[in-house]
């Protein structure tokens, strides 16, 4: 009984062709170098093979919550003033809980007015409660807090991507890492000394202009004494930037900034009148309007330019300024001025960033790893193929063909999907060879058993494939389940392993079961009925 296999054979060759295309694309030639170039073009190497830096950052999102709370304090102040309520003081009492605001010493006769004002304007964002000691407590709603945190994270990712792009790092990966933890994964291929990149990523570049309420003071003690022991509730002490010594001057600033972060539209490195490097900036329209309003009504007072929580410059307001200014006197070098203007152009980070993890793979280790990985893969594959030929004779050729096609499909699939090949990924390829050949062994052993039981070759092949099929599905599913869990849990290189192992085993279902069967049937077709097969 001859089977018509033409359709199946065409399918197999079409698959082969498609996946070879997946591996190489259309190479520019057939020479070794052209093929190699085509290959590296299609299959991306992971950081551990090409060298580079992997960073995990923590975004301190509660700072963004604090900034929103500070803004709301300013708004409440303005509202109290507008409603002619004097004496009540809005504060943010606990640094560890930036989401809790309190309005202190509300006059007894104004309690109703304050309550209705707060409930009218702030109940959308805050849960409001009052206590017997004439205070109101505003607690930011959890959904609002989460929303601020998520926006801070998204904005941080955007900003970091922008900065890294402008540094000219090719193919960086910048994405959220582990949901809900406010962490960011940054992968920088080819960067093996990450110091500068890290500095630029980490600088919050939070530029703010504050009103100066007092100062300078030589230290914190004298600042407190000058204000009668306590700071005004809406003020904060800030140290002046000084590279040369730890001691320095302190200024008392109004906590809420006049303009900040997103109000800056552009920044460029420039030089001051003494030809020293500085940075000039331009404000957005809205920021410029606010700045104009403030400067025109506060001529003669002082304002401070604050960068990352230190006072860079204090200037007396000579006249109304709308949208331009300079940061000078900050002891800039050309490099720091360049870096700062880059950071200001790409926008400030909404919160500061801590590095949690840093891994750097030097380029020489990557090159060695590729060499060793390929060597291990080739050695393993040759050993397995030789053994199959030795043990199963003719059927061994069948298994080896299936195995080779299995690898072609696996690599082609990676080329098509743009997956990344890592060193553990190469290990996955090697394991696929070992585990993939298991399917052939299961089938062949079963065929031998059926032959011993006296079945004809075609019946034995039929039974062998039939019985082994379910077992093969079961065994593949369990391995794929553990690979899937590995994918969910792992990072970078380990994920590469899970991906190659899974693809490899899926391809194996096709090659070891379908392709092997077609080869057997093709052999049977050429033999006399009942003639022995080589297995």
């Amino acid at each position: 009984m001859r089977k018509n296999l033409t359709g199946k054979i065409i399918l197999i060759f079409a698959t082969l062709l498609v996946f070879v295309f997946g591996i190489f694309g259309i190479p520019s030639g057939v020479s070794g170098t052209a093929l190699k170039a085509a290959l590296t073009n299609r299959i991306h190497l992971g950081l551990d093979l090409r060298g580079g830096t992997h960073l995990i950052l923590q975004v301190m999102v509660q700072e963004a919550v604090g900034a929103t709370a500070d803004n709301d304090i300013t708004r409440i102040q303005a509202d109290l003033k507008q409603n002619n309520i004097s004496g009540a003081i809005p504060t943010r009492p606990d640094a560890a809980h930036p989401e809790i605001l309190r309005v202190l010493s509300v006059p007894a006769d104004k309690e109703g007015a304050v309550r209705s004002m707060l409930e009218d304007r702030y109940s959308a964002q805050y849960d409001i409660s009052s206590a017997a000691d004439n205070t109101f407590t505003l607690t930011m709603k959890p959904t609002v807090v989460r929303d601020i945190e998520q926006r801070a994270l998204a904005q941080s990712i955007e900003t970091i991507r922008d900065r890294v792009d402008r540094l000219g790092v090719s193919e960086p990966v910048i994405e959220e890492y582990g949901p809900g933890k406010n962490q960011i994964l940054v992968e920088l291929p080819g960067v093996d000394d990450p110091a500068r990149v890290k500095d630029i990523i980490q600088s919050t570049a939070r530029l703010e202009i504050h009103e100066v309420l007092g100062g300078p003071f030589p230290d914190e003690q004298s600042a407190l004494q000058a204000n009668g022991g306590t700071l005004p509730p809406d003020g904060e002490l800030m140290k002046a930037f000084d590279q040369s010594s730890d001691a320095g001057q302190y200024y008392l600033l109004r906590r809420a900034a006049i303009v900040a972060g997103n109000d800056f539209r552009d920044a460029q490195p420039s030089v001051d009148v003494n030809q020293r490097p500085d940075v000039s900036f331009i404000l957005t329209r809205a920021g410029g309007d606010r700045f104009f309003q403030f400067t025109s009504s506060n001529i003669g007072k002082s304002m401070a330019i604050v960068l990352d929580n230190s006072v860079r410059e204090v200037a007396t307001i000579q006249g109304a300024i709308r949208d331009q200014g300079q940061i000078s006197g900050g002891g800039f070098t050309k490099d720091t001025a360049d870096n700062l203007s880059l950071m200001l152009r790409t926008g400030a980070l909404p919160a500061s960033i801590h590095f949690l993890e840093e891994r750097t793979v030097g380029p020489s280790l990557g090159a060695d790893s590729i060499r060793q990985g390929v060597m291990a893969a080739v050695a393993g594959m040759l050993a397995v193929m030789a053994f199959m030929l030795f043990y199963y004779h003719g059927a061994g050729i069948n298994a080896d063909l299936a195995l080779a096609l299995n690898l072609v499909i696996l690599l082609g699939f990676m080329g098509f999907t743009g997956s990344t090949l890592t060193l553990p990924g190469i290990a996955g390829v090697i394991l696929t060879i070992g585990m993939g050949v298991d399917s052939n062994v299961l089938i062949f052993e079963r065929i031998r058993e059926e032959l011993h039981a006296g079945k004809s070759p075609s019946a034995a092949i039929d039974q062998g494939f039939g019985h082994a099929w379910l077992t093969i599905v079961d065994t593949h599913v369990t391995t794929i389940v553990s690979a899937a869990i590995l994918f969910l849990f792992g990072t970078g290189p380990v994920r590469g392993f899970a991906v190659t192992l899974t693809f490899g085993l899926l391809a194996n279902l096709f090659t070891a079961v379908f392709v092997s069967r077609v080869i057997f049937d093709a052999i049977l077709n050429r033999k006399q009925r009942g003639e022995a097969i080589s297995i």
Binding site: Q58, K181, G190, D192, A195, H354, F355, L356, E357, E358, R359, G362, P363, S364, L365, D368, S369, M375, A376, A379, G380, A383, V384, F387, F390, L423, P424, A427, I430, L431, G434, M435, V437, D438, V441, L442, E445, H452, D462, H467, W469, L470, D474, T475, V477, T478, T479, I480, V481, S482, A483, I485, L486, F489, G490, T491, P493, V494, F497, L501
Partner: protein
């Protein structure tokens, strides 16, 4: 050719030997985990700083230690690493010297200490570029500044010097594993003018940083938890799948066997004091899948035989099933072992822990399918017989009929 034909081994008769063997390994591993080396955690899980350094000659551990302590690093541990002829060491700092505020302070201190103490050319290295550790950008910038080819300042010149730098560093990284023997080895690879610029402005320190891993305490704790959960989820996933495909008792037996394999593998890591890293966890999860795989093949045959050999006792069926699949079990394990072994031998230092775990795992995983999982089915059946006082057949579970 065939290794096993018509084997007839009474596996279940040897169950007490198996039990003894498994207990000896599990308990000694467990004791080591509890009282001796515990589970040696790698930097991934406990946090800290690791700097892998390759030297051009046998590394002098004392000198490295001295350089480090003169830089103010007291608790450094220095280990030789890899093959002796590779001249590699790992310099590691404990977690408390790896604060999240200044994550790579330790790394830069180590590099500085080595740079000031380790240079082949001695004192004349001051102010020069270290060609063994220079990045492509730094080398290109140096060449652009020295301008040995008199190209002037132009984007074209930058590009040309970048190409030369790439060529030199590709030679260093891809052909020489990161260390150039001497500057004169570059003769013929670069223009003589470039070579003399290199000779006047660069030097070879004789060491190179291969790899740096810095993990803060927070991530370490996070990964520890994730690794534990991943292993448990994986076992639970297997249990559910086998429950669905066979019967609950098959799932339980298989999961106990796989847990046994995991315990022994981790136990051996503890006994020989090898560190658990992320890739080792990947190997353990793979081993869970593999060992399960092996067990399923035996269970599948038991299920099939339960249908065809209804009059035989369960232990006969189980013995027969193991013997029938023995050839496949040994072949597959042997072949997978072969590939893992080639990974262990040729795969290099980075994957060493991974392939070590798999080498053990495949041996134990194969053993446990025969010696732990199958006997458990029989033991369960015996227990039910004693409890119910009447023979109840072991459920064979669903089975799709094949043609």
């Amino acid at each position: 050719m065939e290794f096993f034909r018509d084997v007839n081994i009474d596996w279940l008769g040897k169950k007490w030997y198996f039990l003894a063997f498994s207990l000896v390994f599990s308990i000694s591993g467990l004791l080591s985990i509890l009282f001796w080396h515990h589970i040696p955690l790698g930097v991934d899980f406990k946090g800290g700083t690791l700097v892998y350094i390759k030297f051009d000659a046998a590394p002098q551990v004392d000198r490295i230690r001295q350089s480090a302590s003169s830089a103010g690093l007291r608790d450094v541990s220095i280990q030789r690493f890899g093959r002796a002829e590779d001249h590699e060491v790992i310099v590691s700092l404990p977690q408390r010297d790896t604060s999240e505020g200044a994550l790579d302070l330790g790394r830069s201190l180590i590099v500085q200490a080595l740079e000031s103490n380790y240079s082949r050319s001695g004192a004349d290295s001051a102010g020069k570029l270290d060609l063994d550790n220079a990045s492509r950008e730094a080398l290109a910038a140096y060449l652009g500044q020295a301008d040995p080819l008199h190209l002037g300042v132009s984007p074209n010149a930058d590009q040309q010097y970048m190409q030369i730098a790439t060529k030199i560093l590709n030679y260093r990284d891809q052909e020489k594993s990161g260390l150039i023997d001497s500057l004169s080895a570059l003769q013929g690879r670069v223009d003589p003018a470039v070579l003399s610029a290199l000779q006047s402005g660069t030097f070879l320190s004789g060491f190179t940083i291969r790899n740096v891993e810095i993990v803060g305490p927070q991530v370490g704790a996070q990964l520890r938890q994730q690794a534990m959960l991943a292993t448990l989820y994986s076992l639970a996933g297997m249990l559910v799948y086998l429950w669905f495909r066979f019967e609950l008792i098959y799932g339980v037996a298989a999961v106990v066997a796989v847990f046994h394999d995991t315990l022994i593998t981790i136990g051996i890591f503890s006994l020989v004091n090898r560190e658990m890293t992320l890739t080792v966890i990947a190997a353990i999860l793979t081993l869970i899948g593999y060992s399960m795989n092996d067990t399923i093949v035996v269970f599948d045959r038991i299920r099939e035989n339960l249908h065809t050999m209804r009059r035989e006792s369960l232990s006969t069926v189980v013995n027969r099933s193991i013997n029938q699949t023995l050839s496949r079990t040994v072949l597959t394990s042997g072949l997978t072992f072969l590939t893992v072994l080639s990974l262990f031998i040729f795969g290099g230092e980075v994957l060493n822990g991974f392939s070590f775990a798999l080498v053990i795992g495949i041996l134990v995983g194969t053993y446990s399918s025969i010696a732990v999982a199958a006997p458990m089915l029989v033991a369960y059946q015996d227990w039910r017989l004693r409890r119910d006082k009447r023979p109840t057949p072991l459920p064979a579970g669903r089975r799709t009929q094949v043609s």
